[in-house]
């Protein structure tokens, strides 16, 4: 049951902030494909430049292997202060 977290405008686009995927995809690329299949607009937004991915709270680039306990967060451009 991988957990997916969306932040900023991504959760507005999706209409949700957090969901669990059961069964868990085994790779980040599979997880992206599954989310895009469910919601094409979200799939496009997740693939947009500037959207980073944190796997278990560590930034990752490219693909990655997921476990059933993985937390995958999609992070649009950040703006604090």
């Amino acid at each position: 049951m991988a957990r997916v977290l969306l932040f900023g405008r991504l959760s507005d686009i999706a209409g949700w902030r957090e969901k669990t995927l059961d069964p868990s995809p085994t790779r980040l690329s599979d997880l992206r494909a599954q989310l895009a299949a469910e919601d094409a607009a979200l799939g496009e937004a997740l693939a947009a430049p500037g959207v980073q991915v944190a796997l278990d709270q560590v930034l990752v680039r490219g693909d990655a292997t997921l476990s059933t306990r993985s937390e995958v967060a999609f992070l649009p451009p950040m703006s604090g202060g």
Binding site: F7, G8, D12, A73, L75, M78, S79, G80, G81
Partner: protein, 146 residues
Amino acid sequence: MISLTEQGFDPGPLLSGFCCGRAETGAVASFTGLARGEGGATKVLELEAYPGFTEAQIGAIAEAAKARFELHDLMIVHRIGKIAPGEPIVFVATAAAHRRAAFEACDYLMDYLKSRAPFWKKEHGPDGARWIEPRDEDHADIARWA
């Protein structure tokens, strides 16, 4: 000291506490970011963080500042949740022997908080809500430290 708070805060007591008992620190620089009303339009900012990850990333920014500048200490307090115009969003303070290191570290920390810290900022105005992303100036500002 790094903290996120959903409660409003007053930068003054933070600065007093930060300055107190520093017999060897000559210089304390601070920055307070306030929510702007933008010409009287009723606007509310809403700041979202990623609990745990946001603190860790700010911690990494703070460590980079300590490695780069000769600092005695630093403090970062960041508001999350809904923020009304005029309320403080962020407070950063830096302590050093001399003022150049204190100013530059404070400037550096703010540039990184603006475009590298995991916060997402939504502005609720009379015409609806919009997400705010770093401005061109913010990208130019952070490029100064490359």
